[in-house]
Amino acid sequence: AELVVGFSQIGSESGWRAAETTLTKQQAEQRGIDLKFADAQQKQENQLKAIRSFIAQGVNAILLAPVVATGWDEVLQEAKDAEIPVILLDRTVDAPKELYLTAVTSDLVHEGSVAGKWLAETVADKPCNVVELQGTTGSSPAIDRKKGFEQALSGHDNLKIIRSQTGDFTRTKGKEVMESFLKAEDGGKNICALYAHNDDMAVGAIQAIKEAGLKPGKDILVVSIDAVPDIFQAMAAGEANATVELTPNMAGPAFDVLATYLKDGKEPPKWIQTESKLYTQADDPMKVYEEKKGLGY
């Protein structure tokens, strides 16, 4: 019989997430899997509801992109009781490992530290004031990407985070907050680098920097995370310096391990880490842009 897989997606709050959804659907189609998609609109309670109704429907497996790390024990236990394997996508959860089959994610802290390392190396010994655009307050990428970045910077006393405010992962807020950073730091003369928790905020901030009469990428270094297509355009124009890739194709590996597991019951490793690849202006950004453009970002 055809494989039925339920996919509980967080929602559609960013281009990256839309790309993840598109890719998951594509991957399922390629493998002839009947994907049941449920959009939770950023609410954990909706994800819990979705998983419960997947169980009630009797799907063969569940993909879960958890909106938050905590609070999954019970529903995962229910899935386990119903003998439905659960694979976590893109973020992990705070639950006993035996409750899910595996997690296909990147390491958020690692992403932050890749960005931080790049900045530290690029700046070398020069003193550098960094401003930080955080993600949505309280969200795990915001917390972990901040943590990783700070870890990478520790030991480099010439690098200092002088301002850090939330830009809610959006372009609009990224631009608005950057404007106020520029005003607050002497028209931007005080700022040497910008670290944004995602590319969208960076793109907004780049516009703010340009409108303030400064050159992003030169007067202010810009490093961000996600590697969505638009940042490559900015890199090609010399306005952004580096980005750390978070691949939206988490479903491919997930379906692969699922297939082997269902076929011969082989348990995969508990964590399949995706690569956090660093892209800089030297990596032919336009080419990457063309590759990524069609992926539904």
Binding site: E45, R52, A56, I143
Partner: protein, 322 residues
């Protein structure tokens, strides 16, 4: 058929009808699992919506409940995990806090004559802000007592369960119905909704009633927060965003007028079920993209309202003699 029960009856009819339609398409939807889930998954929303019903019946609105739920969860997580308090003590403490918070909003609304919409909007900012300040991380609650509480459920044949929180929601509704229709406080709530100046002239203690209404809503939001923390075993400051809108929608679908003074607590329960049904249906379908999900929810909402209007319209005779 009493005319005042018309909206309620209409809503119940619509629910039964649409459930039947869903089952016709997905026979699995009749399972006890789905019914049990409908109770468990909507428990926190239902409990908060009872409070919201009282607020709306009195002609007010409470936008703070989602934030209060989040605050409650974070507060519990912090005191349980870092403070080492017993959950029952923590429950009592947090319910006191949220009740007082509600009472404070009620007092401001009454004494400063400020619109509830704005006072509770500020309350929403404040409660969520407090949650952020307590912790921006999501904190798992690992207290064994939680496990005990979650272990309490009644297993239905067919794999469904009536959980503690699902049962609690039904209990809260029962109590809410009693309070609304069988106590003086309940009648006073309706009286306020019928017109505060008139109610005042008729001797309704407006100040006390207003404060109590919002305190009650705060209490139930706190209870809902406890239920939510049981439901997710965690406290998270970004939890339950927009729950107030879901609750308002449930109340209104349940046949309560937003202008106040007319409606039923029981209707809200049906409203909750209808919303839950829409969501279950959409997951069972499973082919909708994120955007079509939203569009369909909107359209179904619209259809329910139209249907309700239609039923009420058709069955209402032109104002007749007594």
């Amino acid at each position: 058929m009493k005319q005042r029960y018309l909206p309620l009856t209409a809503t119940i009819l619509i629910f039964i009808l649409s459930y039947a339609l869903c089952v016709a398409q997905y026979p699995n939807m009749l399972s006890t699992r789905v019914i049990g889930n409908l109770l468990t998954d909507n428990a926190f929303l239902g409990i908060a919506a009872v409070g919201m019903t009282f607020v709306i019946l009195s002609g007010g609105i409470d936008l703070s409940i989602g934030a209060v739920i989040a605050f409650t969860g974070v507060f519990l997580a912090v005191v349980l995990e870092h403070g080492g308090m017993h959950p029952l003590t923590a429950f009592a403490l947090v319910l006191t806090i949220t009740t007082l918070f509600g009472a404070l909003m009620g007092a401001i609304i009454h004494y400063l004559e400020m619109p509830a919409f704005i006072v509770t909007l500020a309350g929403m900012f404040l409660a969520r802000g407090m949650a952020f300040v307590l912790s921006i991380d999501s904190i798992p609650i690992k207290h064994p007592f939680y496990a005990t509480l979650k272990g309490l459920y009644y297993k239905l044949p067919g794999g469904g369960r009536i959980t503690l929180i699902g049962g609690l929601m039904l209990l809260v509704f029962a109590v809410g119905i009693l309070i609304a229709h069988r106590t003086r406080f309940g009648t006073n709530v309706y009286a306020l909704g019928g017109g505060a100046p008139t109610a005042k002239l008729m001797g309704v203690p407006v100040a006390g009633t207003t404060i109590r209404i919002y305190a009650f809503s705060g209490l139930l939001a706190g209870l809902s927060g406890i239920v939510f923390s049981l439901y997710t075993s965690a406290g998270y400051s970004l939890a339950a965003v927009g729950v107030e809108l879901d609750a308002i929608t449930a109340v209104v679908i349940g046949g309560t007028l937003l202008t106040g003074g007319s409606g039923f607590v029981a209707g809200t329960l049906v409203g909750i079920f209808i919303q839950g049904l829409i969501q279950t249906y959409i997951t069972f379908d499973g082919t909708l993209s994120s955007w079509w999900t939203k569009i369909l929810i909107g359209l179904l909402l619209f259809a329910f309202i139209l249907l309700q209007k239609g039923i009420i319209h058709l069955s209402r005779p032109d104002r007749q003699h007594a």
